[in-house]
Symmetry: C2
Subunit: 261 residues, 2 copies
Amino acid sequence: MVKIPKVHPRRKSLISRKAIVDATKQGLLADSAMIAHGRGEAFDYLLGEKTSEIAKLSIKESAARLISAKHPVISVNGNTAVLAGKSLIRVAAVIQCPIEINIYYRTEKRMDLLHDYLESQKLEVSKEDNPINWHGDWESAVMAVKILGKEEDGKIEGLEGPRAICSAEGIERADVILVPLEDGDRCEVLVSLGKNVLVVDLNPLSRSAKMATVTIVDEVSRMAELLLQYVIENPSDNTEWNNDLALKESLEIISNYYVNQ
Amino acid sequence: MVKIPKVHPRRKSLISRKAIVDATKQGLLADSAMIAHGRGEAFDYLLGEKTSEIAKLSIKESAARLISAKHPVISVNGNTAVLAGKSLIRVAAVIQCPIEINIYYRTEKRMDLLHDYLESQKLEVSKEDNPINWHGDWESAVMAVKILGKEEDGKIEGLEGPRAICSAEGIERADVILVPLEDGDRCEVLVSLGKNVLVVDLNPLSRSAKMATVTIVDEVSRMAELLLQYVIENPSDNTEWNNDLALKESLEIISNYYVNQ
């Protein structure tokens, strides 16, 4: 792929695309990961490739719910790890929760590769300076983040086959789960188990988006950077959160994007 | 990839996705072809995965212009060949025009693979029954379709480097070109050379879509099947074609898709 000029108006999008192409070549991602990424590109284009006001509110609400959870967990699939792995490790370090690798087309090889990938990202993050406004021992906080997923000692009740596999210490016991780019079936089952499911999905009409407790309609890497700010700010949660209303606002943004051309 | 149930509501979309994944593995497509396909999936989803009335009109207009052209050509890239190769060979057989392989990331290997792929598709198509309402010697008509692109004996004036390469007998001398999924720069240059450029693009806001003489906002395989019907029906062209108005109608369809949820 060609080099991306520093001044290119869509530089961030092109860098993400290159990261996904490279990770596919390295075997980190499933066959159809690039297709999923392309769908995301199209939906993000319709959002003007920026985080909307309603998305900011939903990220803040998610931050509050993760902080007040008994057993929060951040679930990541391959695309999420590649696009937002470092940012989500920082978030996990601040709230001290585990990250669980949770992939749709599960193979032992890809689980191992993603595990090693996230562990090496974790090591890099641990050597960074403290995030702005965060006080404490950053290296210890980061290195305390567990990367779960390989244990396969838990089960998601209500699912069958490999998709039911999870970690007992992660998704199984979690009361609040942040799951970017999640499959609709799994999202539905997690909600039915009484968990708070915080979904990141660029399509406000997807089944996951409609099912979730809180839906963040935003690109996952932008979302993760903002989530880090918010978990440090430590906001209160809003028990009155109306997810249908939030989805409606996202739909209107996309619709207006077309009308106003 | 899993087997697709016969009754799946999105069966056609999933079959196309599988074809793109398989062709990528066979080396027919560039790295980013799957990402481009994913973007297409998202836009098609917003069209309800069906051909709109305005798309039908633009396909009919394109049929008329191809028929009345002196030197029509159908330009295909990798994704188009995989998704609509056979249908476009049928169209080329009916109007007796060449097909030119025209790829953005040009390598000799991919040109050879795509050439062989289209030649084998051509052989299969030549053994089919006549298309409905078409009369004549189908096998001869199909086998007379030239698959151009490897000659590299032509140039698109106004472009530099490998993207300027074309076939003298194809794009260089053509007065009317059907170019599904074309790059914006190349579309602009082809229009500036005074050619009639018929573009197929699912995003009515893309540069190609805005630049084209006639823009078909539709999925390429559905478009190609309908185009075959229309070239057999032999419609008259409409010199009053207003492409801006047609694009506006497509934008409204997408916008309404969101509003009506």
